[in-house]
Every structure is written in C-alpha cells, then in structure tokens.
Amino acid sequence: MNPRVSHAILMAAAVLVLVLLGARAADPVLYTAENISTAAHADPATVQKRSPGNAAALVPLMDDLLGETGTLALTIKLKDYESAERDLARYSELSRQFDRLVVTLDVSGTDVGEFQQNNRQNQEALATLLNDTRRFEDLQSLEIEVRGDDEQHMAVVYEGEALRQKMREGFSAYAKRETATTRIAEHYEINATPYQESVEDFAEIADAADDWREEIGTGTKKSPLRIAVTPAEGRYGDTLLIAGTHASGRPGAPVEIYVDSRIAETVALDDGGSYRHPYRIGRVLAGPHLAYATAGPIYSEVAAFAILSGNTSITLALAEVNETTIACTGNLTTDDRPVTLAPVLLRVDDGTLVAAETDKNGTYEKEIALPAGEHTIRAEFHGAGYPLNASESPAETVTVRGEGLSPLPFAAALAALFGTGWYLRRRRNRREESPVVEPARETAEEAAVPPPQVEIAGLPPREAATVLFRTLRARLGIAETKTPRDCARIAPGHAGFFERYELIRYAGETPSEEELRAMEKEALGGDADAA
C-alpha cells in the first residue's frame, strides 16, 4: 500500500478514536460513578446504600405507646401501684425510643411529630396521675383516722381537694388530646382502643376523687392558703407570678410552691401574710399546668395556668478549623430571646446526627471531623421538653480538603533519588579514576603493566585484528563495552590503531600482514613512543 495512503488512514483512524473516546474520557462516570440518575429513575448501583433509620419500627412503636397508656391507666385505676410503676417505666422507655426514631427519621414536622408531642404530655399526665392517686388513697385512710381532730382533718381535706382539682384538670387536658391522637392513630391504621380506654379510666379516677369530696361533705370549705398565677398564660422566657396569702400564717413561715407536683421554690410569708414567687417559664411542655402551695400541713387550692408554644429560629455558620474539621456555630432563639441549654442536632449529609447544646446566650458551637469532600450540614432543634416548636436552619454546604498526602512516600522517593544520584556519581568517579582516561599517566602505567601474551598465528586476518583490539583494550584498562570509536576517544594516543580496526570490523576490510604486525606490536606495548 502507498505509504501516504496508509498514513492518511492511520491519521483518520487515530482522530476517530481520539474523538470517540476523548468525548467520554473526562466523564467522571468512568471513574467515580455516584448518584447517577435521570428524571425517571436512579441507578441503584451508584446510589449510596443508607437507610434513613428503622422506619419499619415507627408505626409499631406508635401502636405500643397507645397500648401502654391503656395498660398504665388501668393498673392505676385498679390501684396496682407495683404494676403501674413497671408499666410507667416501660412506657417511658418506649417513649424515649420513639423520640429518638422521630429525630433520626426527620419526621418531627409531620403528624408523627404531633403524635410525639401528645405522647410526651400523656406520659407526664399518667406519671402525675400515678403519684396523685397513690397520695389520694393515703389521704382517704388518713381522713378516717383524724376524724375528731378538726385541725388535722381540715389539713387532710385541703390536701385532698388540691389533689382532686389536679386530677380533674389533668383529666381535662388528657381528654383534650384524644381527638387529635385518635385521628393520627386511624391514619396510621393503629388500634386506638387502649388509648381511648385510658381516657375512660382516667375519667373514672377523677370521678372517684369527686365522689370522695361529696362523701366527706367538705366541698364548700375553702383553704386559708390562697394561690393565684398571673398572668394565666405565658410563653418560653416569660415570668409568671405565683402569689397568695395565708390567713392564719405567721410572718416568716415557710411556704412551699409546687408546679406540676414538683417543688418550684420555698418562700417565706411576709408581714402581711403574703408570699410571692416569680416563675420563669423554661424547659417545660406547652399546655395546661397546675400550681399549688403548702404551708406546713395546709394545702392551697390548685391554680391552673397555660404555657403556649412559641416558634423558634436557629442559625448555622460553618468555618474551617483545619483540613478535616469544621466548626459549626449558631444561635437558637424564640421571639428574639435566646433558648438556653437546649439540645441542638447537626444533621450531616442527611444522615449522621451530631449533638450540641446552646449556652446561656442561646449559642451553640460544635467542631465536627469530616472526610474529604463536599458535605451538607443542617442544624435542627426538635423542641424536646420545651414549649417551643421545632425549627431547622437552611442547609449549608462545606468542602473539606482532607488531610494532605503523607510526606513519607515523598521522603522515600527523594531518598531513592538522592541514593541513585550518589551511586551513579560514585560509579562515574571510580571510572574517571581509571588510568585510561588520564593520558598523561598512560605511559607510566603501561610500563607497570606486564606485556600480555597474545597468539594470532594461524588466525584469519580479521579475527587476528579482533584479538589484537581486545588485547590493546584490556591493556589500556578500557571497559569491554566500549566500541573502537569510544576507545579512540578515550585513548587518543592509540587512535590510529582503533580507527583502523573500526574499518576492519565494520567496513569489512582485511588487514595486511604488515598491518597485523604493527597492530600486534602496538597491542603488546611495543610502540610506547606512539603515545
């Protein structure tokens, strides 16, 4: 084939290959296929295998929680307090699991989140009911024992009335959640019957307290220890005033103030027999709450107040700490007030959760170590235990450079390079120290070397010339790898010999007898004056 045609075909083929392959060569899919998808579908082989959480457990857990309310309310009604304690412990554990799952699955903004809030309040209401019922039973026994002692009897009556009011208010709030909780349960095809039964049981317990009051016939007697909460409702960060008077109290006498059956503060009566306690709304659930006070054996009536839920706002700022660590900072606020000591979650790449906490200024800060690459981080507040709605920051993207390459391979490569250089230099120096490259000393060294023995008799002329060339090369200490031309350059004193041999060796010339004799003489060192 004509070389021009073949070259043209070669060129065309090469261009074709380069165009066809080159168009794809830079495509990252060839090397790191990741999240390959179109509008219609995704390639499952390139999508990261990662479950959003144990979603299959969510609905069964909701079912279990509703079931627990039924069991717990029934055991309280039956006054089987030992079983009720066990049921409450299990209910609390299931609630904790559910809370974690809601956060992991990122569904707190849905009706599952609403169910979660209702469940928290139900759990607290049933825990309070258990304590109140137990105390109420004690009071019922005590009331019989102290009949005849008016002072003690009235103290029992006042405390019983406080408990009765608490249970009545508690039931009212518990029953209010029934509609929403049942609606959500039906949506998820969960059996709400145990929960509905728990509402009925709760009602029976509250009714029993009403019946007792009717039975002892002291319903119209008011406690001398009065209490009021003003204003009657507030939001996170607001301060409510819990205050009252004790008609028969001595100045300086202690008054214990309880909020939701937990002691909030102990204050002293002033000279006018009044007491006051500013109650700041902090980490407490939204909804109805109860306050009462005790002064020795005297219980006040129960004052109800409401805590309203507020919206929150959370920010997120990312800053690089080093190649692998990112600092996440931000503020959590509600109505421009900082939300203090609140848990904040940082959701990394829609998966991993990192916990942080706000300080007294509502600021949180967390350093997160991340692998190299681009990451998306979002800060979330889930309102756990606060009268605050959940919020989340916009997702922020950060690129982590990652640790640089380890210096060890570079050090090893440099060491190898220097070692090679040193070795080559040393080898060259040794060669340079060789006498053949020192023409000035050649004569002396030649004299020191004993004349080699060579026998060329009977050899063909060209072979004889080769033997003589090798002899001279050896005598001059020139490496065997050197060609006649190299030898002529290294030992210019014998250039004539080597150039002649080059012609014999490569040009195919045949040396004459005279030439061979002259070459033999030179090879054996008999031409010392030739140098």
């Binding site: 290959v17 999240n35 998808s37 579908h41 499952p44 849905t110």
Partner: protein, 270 residues
C-alpha cells in the same frame, strides 16, 4: 515498516471497536439498544411491532409508551383482552391514560414524585412497595423495589407503598411543609389489564433488584412500536432497516465484499 503496520492495524481495530459501539447502541431511556443502566437490553421479552392477531394466551408489555395508539390499534388490544390475552402497561408519565380510557379502564397513572422512608438507599425515590394482590405477575414476591414510581388510581391494588410514603412536591427528599404521609398504590389491575406505575422496573440496573418479579415477566411480548423500548438513533434505524429489508441487506453485503474481491483480483493480475 513492519512495526508501523502493526500500529496501523491496532489503531484500526480500536477505531472499528469504538465506531461499532457507537453504531450499535444508544443512550436513550428504556431503549432495547441501550446497554447502559437505563436501557432495557437485558430484559428478556420478545419485541413485536404489530399488534394484530396476538396470541390470546400471551401477555403484552407496553413499556413507557410515548407514541399514541390509533383507534385501530386500541381495537386490536381490546380484542386481545377480550380473547383472554393479558396487557401490562408500565408508565409513570401518564402517557398511557388515553389508551386506558380507550380500553374502557378506570385505572389512570398519576404522575408525581413519590418518596418513602421504607428504603435502604439514600435516594428517597428508590424504595420498597408491598405486593397486596394475588396475581401471577407477583407470584412468590413479597416486596418490589420501585424506582421513582407514579401512583396508579383505580382498579384492584396489586402493589402498595408503606404508609411512610409521601408526594415529594418540592423534591427536597424530605417530608416538609404540607406534604403528608400516606399509602400509594403503584400497581393495579382490572381483569386482564394491569397497570404498573414504574417502567423503571425493567431497566438493566433494576433487573437484579427484583429477580423473582422479572422471572415472572420473562415470557411477555414487548410492544416495540409505542414503547420507548423501540427508541433508537438514526444509525441504528438505518441498520434495523437494512436488517429487515432483504435487498438492502444484500446490497450492504455486496458493498462490503466487492472492494475485497477487487483488491485480491488486482493482486492476482499483478
């Protein structure tokens, strides 16, 4: 020179292989000639291009239809269904709704962007649906992994998502705003007519995800005229035309053989 000849040969081979790959494949979605992840080259169904006189014992799969059916073709399909044949329509864009109406079905495909928490992939559109109906198509299958399916309305449900599924209207992969959880039917049937809201079940990348279901659909006929499985490119269309037209095939063979014959003939003369 010899070394140069080898280089020429090697480059020609490479060029030939690259050109062959380009000529015989396409990257079109669902195409039978697409060997990539989103093609259907690996699906075993036999492709047909004429809906007349279909065997009443057969099942016909219309996969991601994007070309309309004429009244005549709808009539062939009605006759096929009336004769006991089975039609499976896999569509997620609603393109099959016209045909469904023509076939007298109440089922409709409702395009959308379903997402679910019932999954083990990061992509929220790649999730599990449960088999809820009794159908030979899903014999021995409990769950099917679907790939960004559409909901199917009407008919008897065959394939249903879990309750933790939502219409991801804003496409952020999260359930936010007014989005709510709810079950969705992604496969239903009415008599012999079955509608699947996910044609992606049959793409190459999904075949291994639902092995039993794919085994159950091996014997189906594949409509190559209206389905996107028949999508090719200009070169492929030309090749197909040559394959299907004997004179063109003969002409192409002659074009390939004649230069070689001429070359060898000239050498002998020399």
């Amino acid at each position: 020179m010899q070394r140069e000849a080898w280089a020429v040969l090697l480059i020609l081979l490479l060029a030939g292989a690259a050109a062959y790959a380009h000529v015989t494949t396409t990257t079109e979605e669902y195409s039978r000639y697409n060997t990539g992840w989103n093609g259907t080259s690996g699906f075993a169904g036999e492709e047909i291009r004429d809906l007349r006189g279909l065997d009443p014992g057969a099942a016909l799969l219309i996969l991601a239809p994007d070309r309309p059916f004429t009244a005549e073709e709808a009539g062939y399909l009605r006759a096929f269904l009336d004769g006991g044949g089975r039609v499976i329509i896999a569509d997620e864009e609603g393109a099959a709704n016209g045909l469904l109406a023509d076939l007298g079905s109440t089922m409709r495909v409702r395009p959308g962007n379903l997402a679910s928490l019932d999954r083990n992939h990061a992509d929220p559109g790649l999730f599990l649906a449960r088999v809820v109906g009794n159908d030979t198509l899903f014999a021995g299958v409990e769950t099917v992994r679907v790939n960004r399916p559409a909901a199917v309305e009407g008919g008897e449900p065959l394939l249903e998502t879990s309750i933790l599924t939502w219409e991801d209207a804003d496409g952020d992969g999260r359930i936010t705003g007014s989005e709510t959880f709810g079950k969705a039917v992604v496969g239903a049937r009415e008599g012999n007519l079955t509608v699947l809201g996910d044609p992606s079940l049959f793409i190459n990348a999904m075949l291994a995800e639902n092995l039993e279901f794919i085994q159950n659909t091996r014997a189906v006929l594949l409509d190559g005229t209206h389905s996107r499985t028949g999508t090719a490119n200009l070169i492929l269309n030309a090749r197909l035309w040559i394959q299907e037209t004997p004179p063109a095939a003969a002409a192409a063979a002659a074009l390939a053989v004649l230069p070689v014959a001429w070359h060898f003939g000239r050498k002998r003369d020399d």
